[in-house]
């Protein structure tokens, strides 16, 4: 009850000097806005990453270029994977299928229509491994790949944008200046791993490597295990086999990396954590700056209200009552600033969302409570010194103050 009354008193003294109160908490407003935006963006990107990788099968192992030689070695990624590695891995007992994959951005043309797309060169297993089906025509066959045919399968969106509702299979398109025949259109899928495959066009690996990519290496190989429960041991087997394929002697480091979906997700988690540290540091600094603003204004307020403090002491306020009153005043101004900050941060992330169209953001109840808590804590910490000063005033001196 006493506590509530003191809160009320604090609120009424803040109301009496509204403009100054707003100025005092400006720093906190921006600080909290920063915290709320940071958390909303982080939440959004984490959910996004998790959502994307959920589309990858649990039975997949990814083999990539580059070395896994510990943290110290940051040598440039040297290309080493070839389609014959994929074939060799496919021979293993425990491996069901393999798909070598190489990806570039390219232009696709159909008469006057021109689109920028992701061009994926791969083999016939790509569709089966990912459970990705054609809605019209067919997907790649072994024959397409072996003979390096100039055929392509269009992602859902690509087909719609190029052809609208008209039949597409059999049409001719030009990709990177080379003519291709459309043999199929894929289903609407959205994200598969890191990319939106509806924006993607698939061509045979051989055709891509010889005519468009200008090198014989592939970017990664997706390996589908027979048993997803034995992924770890199969991964080791894949590693051993790759070392043999690449004639790496004992003691030498791998020139490739092998990862499961889980490990990639973990890596993203690590990245998100680093982002979080950076964002929270920025937010923390702005809160500290906000706190200094509050300290400043509270000191002015204590000086201005010296006589009032004297009167309160004369009518029976204990030093602890005065301390509490000014602490709460700082806390209340800070929490109000926090409230405004949350609205501001929410507005900012919404604008960001609409302008960039890239990421979704989420302001969770948890982040709101956390932000308000931080604001209150900042305010109380910032009010500590001014409140202490107020509580140590000598009543007689304070009453004499002009």
């Amino acid at each position: 009850m006493f506590f509530l009354r003191i809160c009320w008193m604090a609120a009424s003294s803040l109301r009496a000097n509204l403009m100054r109160s707003v100025l005092a908490c400006l720093g906190v407003i921006f600080g909290v806005a920063a915290v709320v935006s940071a958390m909303a963006i982080l939440e959004g990107s984490t959910r996004d990453a998790v959502k994307r990788f959920e589309t990858l099968g649990a039975d997949q192992i990814i083999v990539m270029n580059g070395s896994d030689g510990g943290r110290g070695s940051r040598n440039a990624v040297s290309l080493s994977l070839t389609h014959s590695d994929a074939d060799a891995l496919g021979e293993l007992e425990s491996v069901k299928n393999t798909a070598p994959e190489s990806l570039i951005t390219a232009q696709i043309k159909h008469f006057e229509k021109n689109l920028s797309i992701q061009l994926l060169a791969t083999n016939q297993n790509y569709a089966t491994i990912n459970g990705y089906k054609a809605v019209r025509g067919r997907t790649l066959t072994k024959q397409d790949v072996v003979s390096g045919r100039k055929v392509c399968v269009l992602g859902h969106k690509v087909a719609r944008q190029l052809f609208g509702e008209t039949p597409t299979v059999g049409s001719r398109v030009r990709i990177g200046g080379i003519g291709f025949t459309v043999i199929g259109v894929m289903e609407k899928k959205g994200f598969l791993g890191m990319r939106d495959v509806d924006d993607q066009v698939v061509i045979p690996l051989t055709t891509g490597l010889t005519r468009l990519f200008g090198n014989k290496y592939v970017q990664f190989i997706t390996v589908q295990a027979e048993e997803s429960s034995e992924l770890e041991s199969i991964m080791q087997e894949v590693k051993r086999h790759m070392r043999v394929e690449h004639s790496i002697r004992a003691g030498e480091v791998d020139n490739f990396r092998v990862m499961t979906k889980e490990q990639i997700t973990q890596q993203i988690g690590g990245f998100v954590q680093i982002m979080a540290i950076v964002l929270y540091s920025i937010a923390g600094i702005s809160l500290v700056v906000g706190g200094i603003g509050i300290t400043n204004i509270m000191l002015v307020s204590v000086t201005e209200r010296t006589r009032e403090i004297g009167v309160r002491m004369a009518v029976g306020a204990k030093r602890s009552d005065i301390l509490l009153q000014f602490l709460l005043e700082a806390g209340v101004v800070s929490v109000l600033g926090g409230g405004l900050g949350i609205l501001l941060g929410r507005g900012f992330t919404k604008i960001l969302e609409n302008v960039t169209q890239l990421l979704e953001t989420y302001t969770t109840p948890r982040s709101i409570i956390l932000a308000l808590g931080m604001a209150f804590f900042t305010g109380v910490a910032a009010g500590l010194y001014p409140a202490f000063r107020a509580s140590r005033l000598d009543p007689v001196e304070a009453l004499r103050h002009e």
């Binding site: 109301r15 009167v311 002491m313 004369a314 009518v315 029976g316 306020a317 007689v396 009453l399």
Partner: protein, 245 residues
């Protein structure tokens, strides 16, 4: 009720020492109405602050109702002020941003009372300000402000009221209204100590104490005879002999 023995208050001003109170001995019984007069700087306010437990003496003892106040902690002194003492100041000292009734309720908040409004309204009623309860100090006249201040001083029903020049900022007629309230409080049994340098105000008390240079130089009970003499003296001071009437 009040027992002061060799009470001293010194202030160091650089090299020199100011004896604001220089060894005062004084007893005031419960229910007395005492006025304290003396020239400016004679130590009246210092005496009030000590009696009111707002300040500590440099030396000497002070017993309030038998309790050795000079040995109490800040916290205990705050509680004594809250429960037993009411202050009335020359400059009213109200909190300007809140209403009259909220000002009156301030002491109740610090005594952790759960319902403050009814008691604050009752105190306002005693000074005849019920209709002004929701006005802010800036919307009140000087006399009304002082009545709010008195209501604040009596809201916790203290035994002792200390008023330091309560009529100093008011015209004579308004001052008389304020004095009428003090008379009522006195009649109800409250002990009142009133600092003033207006002799006709001082003469309204039952006992008058004069100070000079931090010392009590006179302490006398006022009977009807002395009172009339003092009031005549006060009139003469205001309208000196030879001035046009």
């Amino acid at each position: 009720m009040i027992e002061l023995r060799q009470l001293r208050k010194l202030y160091k001003m650089g090299d020199s020492i100011v004896h604001a109170l220089d060894g005062a001995d004084l007893d005031i019984g419960a229910g007395e109405f005492v006025s304290l007069t003396g020239a400016s700087g004679s130590g009246k306010s210092t005496m009030m602050h000590l009696i009111g437990c707002l300040d500590r003496p440099t030396s000497g003892t002070y017993k309030l109702d038998g309790l050795a106040v000079n040995r109490m902690s800040d916290r205990q002194l705050a509680m004594v002020r809250n429960h037993h003492i009411g202050f009335v100041f020359q400059t009213f000292n109200l909190i300007n941003r809140t209403s009259a009734v909220d000002n009156v309720a301030v002491p109740l908040i610090y005594s952790r009372k759960t319902s403050t409004r009814a008691a604050a309204m009752a105190a306002l009623d005693k000074v005849g300000l019920t209709p002004r309860a929701s006005h802010k100090p800036s919307e009140l006249s000087g006399g009304e402000r002082q009545r709010v201040a008195i209501a604040r001083a009596i809201v916790n029903e203290p035994k002792l009221i200390l008023a330091d020049e309560p009529t100093g900022n008011l015209d004579t007629r308004t001052g008389e209204q304020i004095m009428a309230i003090f008379h009522q409080l006195h009649a109800a049994g409250t002990t009142i100590i009133l600092v003033t340098h207006e002799m006709d105000v001082a003469a309204q008390a039952k006992r008058i104490i004069r100070m000079r240079d931090g010392k009590i130089v006179a302490d006398e009970m006022l009977d009807e005879h002395k009172r009339t003499a003092l009031q005549a003296e006060a009139r003469d001071a205001r309208y000196p002999v030879g001035s046009p009437t």
